[in-house]
């Protein structure tokens, strides 16, 4: 049975802004599920509804078997969440943050103390446990938040942009923790991200979101194989129709003198492709990324800038479309 199930889940702000648009989604127990999409796609709004932090406008959803509208307290007991922006207390030590969390969740003192030790160990903060969080680096704070989110043994852990704003090294660290959690503890995790490689690396399944809808759903491999396995970009005079007739070519498009070809097994088929194409100025071969998948479904790239604009950007965008 699915541990998270959404049926026509909708969040509307005002009369016109649909942040999440009739979302249908099932997430299985033990999965690491990624919601991938550009800023303002509705990822955070979706997570906020599932965590009972904001009310849905219509539709239903259940988390760990409890209805988000009718049993919010039961839902909260069974989830952990790592927020997008820092939410650990600066003026408290790492240990105090965990202790207060345990108290809020009604953990008995003995269990709480044992669990604090375990969690600090898990995220490698045992040595710094008694320092104020103010003295932690960005990566350490995020690790503390993960420890806090897991402390009360939730069935589902939500991670909202877990590596946003972190340096590459801390990012790799967080990825390691997430993978270990999934492997060793089997924790179900739902994460949002707008980093494609993050989704690709961590998630068993990905839902690509844009404008409040999931536009593609599947394992990273499935998603990518829908548009081919490799991308070849050719610069020069190329007859695209001839290319499209080849068996191993999935798609060919031309723009500004560059022909982009999606095909299977480039290492084997490249030679055959080039034979048909003839002379070109340059050739570039790379694997398909989730960005290509996103581009395929929406006709635009996933924005790379930092930060989640949320619905505000959607307002701005919809205004722009009308103009």
């Amino acid at each position: 049975m699915a541990i998270i199930s959404c049926k026509s889940l909708t969040k509307q702000y005002g009369a016109k802004v649909l942040a999440v648009d009739k979302l249908d989604l099932d997430i299985e127990e033990g999965e690491v599920f990624g919601l991938l999409g550009p800023n303002g796609a509705g990822k955070t709004t979706t997570i906020s509804m599932l965590c009972t932090l904001i009310h849905s406008t219509s539709g239903q959803a259940s988390v760990a078997g409890f209805d988000i509208k009718k049993q919010p307290s039961k839902v909260r007991q069974n989830i952990g969440i790592v927020f997008q922006e820092p939410s650990v207390d600066d003026l408290l030590s790492g240990r105090e943050n965990l202790e207060l969390h345990g108290m809020l969740y009604g953990m008995k003192e003995q269990d709480r103390n044992a669990r604090i030790g375990e969690m600090l160990e898990l995220v490698g903060l045992t040595d710094r446990a008694n320092d104020l969080v103010r003295e932690y680096s960005g990566g350490m704070r995020r690790r503390l938040e993960i420890a806090r989110g897991l402390m009360h043994r939730p069935k589902v852990l939500f991670l909202d942009e877990p590596t946003l704003g972190l340096d590459p090294q801390s990012r790799t660290h967080i990825w390691d923790y997430i993978r270990r959690l999934s492997k060793e503890h089997g924790t179900t995790m739902v994460l949002t991200t707008h980093y494609m490689e993050e989704a690709d690396l961590l998630c068993n399944r990905i839902g690509i979101m844009d404008l409040g809808k999931i536009i593609a759903l599947g394992t990273p491999r499935e998603l990518k194989s829908k548009i081919g396995e490799d991308i070849v970009r050719l610069r020069g005079a190329v007859d695209a129709d001839k290319i499209r007739k080849l068996k191993f070519v999935r798609k060919a498009a031309q723009e500004d003198g560059i022909t982009t070809v999606a095909l299977v097994d480039a290492p084997v088929n490249l030679q055959a492709l080039l034979k048909v194409v003839g002379r070109v100025d340059s050739v570039e071969v790379r694997e398909v990324t989730l960005n290509d998948v996103f581009l395929h479904y929406t006709g635009k790239e996933i924005h790379k800038e930092e930060g989640e604009g949320g619905w505000f950007e959607r307002v701005a965008r919809s205004g722009g479309n009308r103009a």
């Binding site: 007991q77 969440i81 927020f83 820092p86 003026l91 408290l92 108290m103 809020l104 009604g106």
Partner: protein, 254 residues
């Protein structure tokens, strides 16, 4: 239903944060002491000395300044959740499996603790330098201050929960806190205000706190003591109900 462990956890967090924010603690002493010693001794020099009974003007405004200091600390404490929400600190609590009434009561007890610590210090300074008081008067004063801060912290939290921008701070300060202070009779007897201001003073709950404190500390009163307490209690109860409702509606600010 509120859960004790939830209230306790929220309260403990507030206390830990309070004792570590030394700037906030020290900063909040300056203005009451300025009022009491500079304003009280300067302006009051001869003006009210006779009119306000024994102890002179400084003694007369002492209960009022005590009220002011806890009023400002507790209301600002409540308004602070505008920041909390912007900075995500509140989310951790909002997503926890405790009822909103627990969060509200935990926050209220945190704000009461902060402002009572401040109240005690000013009370001690005043007891040594202005009006000597007995231990019984000390305890009585604290109980009235506790009731007052329950009300004012709740009020601050209600406004904080319903306001969405920092501009709310200035708005509340100018349109709620200062009027509550000026119309309370903290600096002069309410009877000296023009009669058309009288209804405002009578509708102001802080008036009754000042009167109750003046009864205990100076033995001067406008209203019977039980009436002061009864009216403050009614206001506190209403504020608690409204506060729990406001917190129930509280959603993530985004």
């Amino acid at each position: 239903m509120p859960e004790l462990h939830g209230i306790y956890a929220v309260w403990k967090r507030e206390l830990l944060v309070y004792i570590r924010e030394k700037e906030r603690v020290i900063g909040s002493f300056v203005s009451p002491l300025l009022w009491l010693f500079v304003f009280g001794s300067g302006i009051g020099g001869g003006m009210y000395a006779g009119a306000s009974g024994s102890g002179g003007y400084q003694a007369f405004i002492f209960p009022g300044i005590l009220t002011m200091s806890v009023l400002f600390v507790s209301m600002f404490y409540g308004l602070y959740i505008i920041w909390d929400r912007k900075l995500d600190f509140l989310k951790e609590v909002l997503v926890a499996p405790v009822s909103r009434s627990s969060i509200f009561l935990g926050k209220v007890s945190g704000g009461m603790t902060d402002s009572l610590i401040q109240g005690v210090i000013i009370l001690v300074i005043g007891a040594f330098l202005i009006v000597p008081i007995s231990p019984l008067q000390f305890v009585g004063t604290l109980l009235v201050l506790a009731l007052l801060t329950f009300f004012t912290t709740s009020l601050g939290l209600i406004m904080g929960a319903n306001l969405h921008s920092q501009e709310g701070f200035a708005l509340v300060m100018n349109f709620v806190m200062w009027p509550m202070f000026f119309f309370s009779g903290a600096l002069f007897p309410v009877s000296q205000l023009p009669s058309y201001f009288e209804p405002i003073s009578l509708a102001n709950p802080v008036t009754y706190a000042v009167d109750a404190l003046r009864t205990i500390i100076l033995g001067q009163s406008l209203f019977p003591f039980y009436l002061d307490i009864a009216i403050l209690s009614v206001f506190s109860f209403l504020a608690a109900v409204l506060g729990v409702i406001s917190f129930g509606h509280l959603q993530q600010a985004k």
